[in-house]
Amino acid sequence: MSTLLTHIAISDGKIKRSSLEVLSHLRRQAEQHGHQVEAVIIDAEASRYTGQVQQYGPSKIYTVENPVFKNHLNAPLLKALEKVIEQADPSLVAFASTESTKDILGALAAREEAAVLSDVSTFELTEEGIRATRPVMAAKILSENEARGDMILVSVRSGSYDLEEQASDAEVIEIDFSVDDQDLRATLEEIISSSGDTIDLSEAETIVAAGRGAKDEKGQQLISELADVLNAGVGASRALTEAGVMDPSLQIGQTGKVVSPQLYIAVGISGAIQHVAGMASSKVIVAINKDPDAPIFDIADYGIVGDLYDVLPPFIDELKKIAS
């Protein structure tokens, strides 16, 4: 019997749903293979979240609590993970694939001499390690991968697994942790946060995404009206983040975020493969584009050929009627 460890990501005072997805999956795998699942929370207020994590059935929860974890910095996070790994001695450490995870996964693998697979869409345990599927070639193709060794690290795309509660009375173990300036290695000078309380795209049920076609003020106005009616998160293609029209954190695609909402509405987006790489696993895709040959129509469940300035007003109006 060995230990499978899940890292619980905290963002904006909330547990990231994607790390609970990973924990749910890992618990099912552990049951099948006779292993035990543990969780680790590293945050300025780590102990606040143990109750919620217990609902997902780990047998132990490690907490590392220190004000340094209020914001992301790779050096202290690595140091904390190293300490927990030393104590838990896991054969597998699983992460939700967030920007913070991406920042440390390679370094942690090098430090622990562990095998690592990043950004997988599914994985399962094998005799020697894990087998995992990863999208490659801008998510046009799926690759099958194996990782083996005494310790394996894996990060998992959001939306890959369903949540499944199974309450436990997991023992909480506080890890003693301190940092000095030497440990920080870098100085975090400022956080430029994206405007206000925007909806986390990686967890949004509905996303309205704007492309070059909706670049001007009137287009932007229509986009936010549509998002309001649907209570949707607003995303963007690179054309708009690059032009400074939309916040860079809203970019969806190969460079930006990977999302998998129930409904994705692409407005004035051509459907370049690098954009599609980030949204192709949405459940229902709607495309609004004036070019009938735009590639986005090849993957859209509902395509509306037309000028967005003519299409959106009645579309919004009808959705309002439905909502009321």
Partner: protein, 255 residues
């Protein structure tokens, strides 16, 4: 400032691809300079143009990858090292170990990588290399500047953009959101042929056998289940828009 930029030759994802017996086969052998690395080269050039210094590119790959090195030299990099391998490709941890052994006795201010390979999206090599070399680092940089002997990095993180100051020497991995890489000029292309390019055989780097053994393997490829195009509505926007809105409610049940 002395910059080393780690660059990789990758298959062009726009070229047609087929899968035969689980193997990936490209109809052409079209390859490109990894787009994220092109941005790393561009930014190193901009910073050395401003503050003085030199940009050297390093690539691990087979002989045919020289073409990609020339592209970076034509953009303006001053010199290059080619660590020549046979045809096989490795996983990120092997590339990171090879690079670590190359950098062991080098002097530099900044090592730049791309944030990920365009074909595999692994995103691991940069931070692995930083760990091997025990360097402070930052990943997913969307802007860089140099000030008071520090590299200032704007990093796209989960909670927004993080402004981070790194002491030198350091490592940074770059997003293509950082800049628009320059297209080599004719003059640049001509000059690139006379720029110094050193070739080192992989064996000459005395790397531990075990570091060259990949811990992960790709066992096969398969087609991603294709999304079928659904219904397409052309006609009076007033009507089609309302119709689709109703279908989202009644047929798809998503609003």
């Amino acid at each position: 400032m002395k910059f080393y930029v780690c660059i990789k030759q990758v298959p062009d994802i726009d070229a047609p691809i087929q899968i035969k017996n689980g193997n990936l086969i490209q109809d052409t052998d079209r390859t490109v300079l990894n787009a994220y690395d092109a941005s790393a080269v561009e930014e190193a050039l901009v910073l050395t143009e401003k503050h003085g210094g030199e940009v050297e590119v390093v690539l691990i790959g087979p002989n045919q990858a020289k073409e990609t090195i020339r592209k970076a030299l034509a953009m303006g990099a001053h010199k290059a090292t080619h660590i020549e391998t046979r045809e096989e490709s490795y996983d990120s941890s092997v590339y990171a170990s090879i690079l670590a052994s190359f950098f062991e006795d080098k002097d530099y201010d900044v090592i730049s990588c791309g944030k990920q390979s365009q074909d595999t999206d692994a995103g691991l090599t940069g931070s692995m290399l930083a760990e091997h070399l025990d360097l402070p680092y930052s990943t997913n940089a969307v802007a860089l500047s140099a000030q008071n002997g520090q590299l200032r990095v704007k990093r796209q993180g989960d909670a927004g953009q993080e402004l981070i100051a790194l002491p030198l020497p350091c490592l940074v991995s770059c997003s293509n959101d950082m800049n628009e890489p320059r297209i080599p000029s004719l003059k640049g292309i001509m000059q690139s042929k006379r720029k110094p390019m050193e070739t080192i055989a992989l064996d000459a780097l005395e790397i531990d056998e075990s570091a060259l053994e990949a811990k992960t393997a790709v066992t096969g490829y398969r087609e991603k289940p294709k999304r079928e195009a659904g219904q397409k509505f052309e006609g009076e926007p007033e009507e089609t828009a309302r119709q689709v809105a109703r279908l989202l409610d009644e047929e798809a049940n998503v609003v």
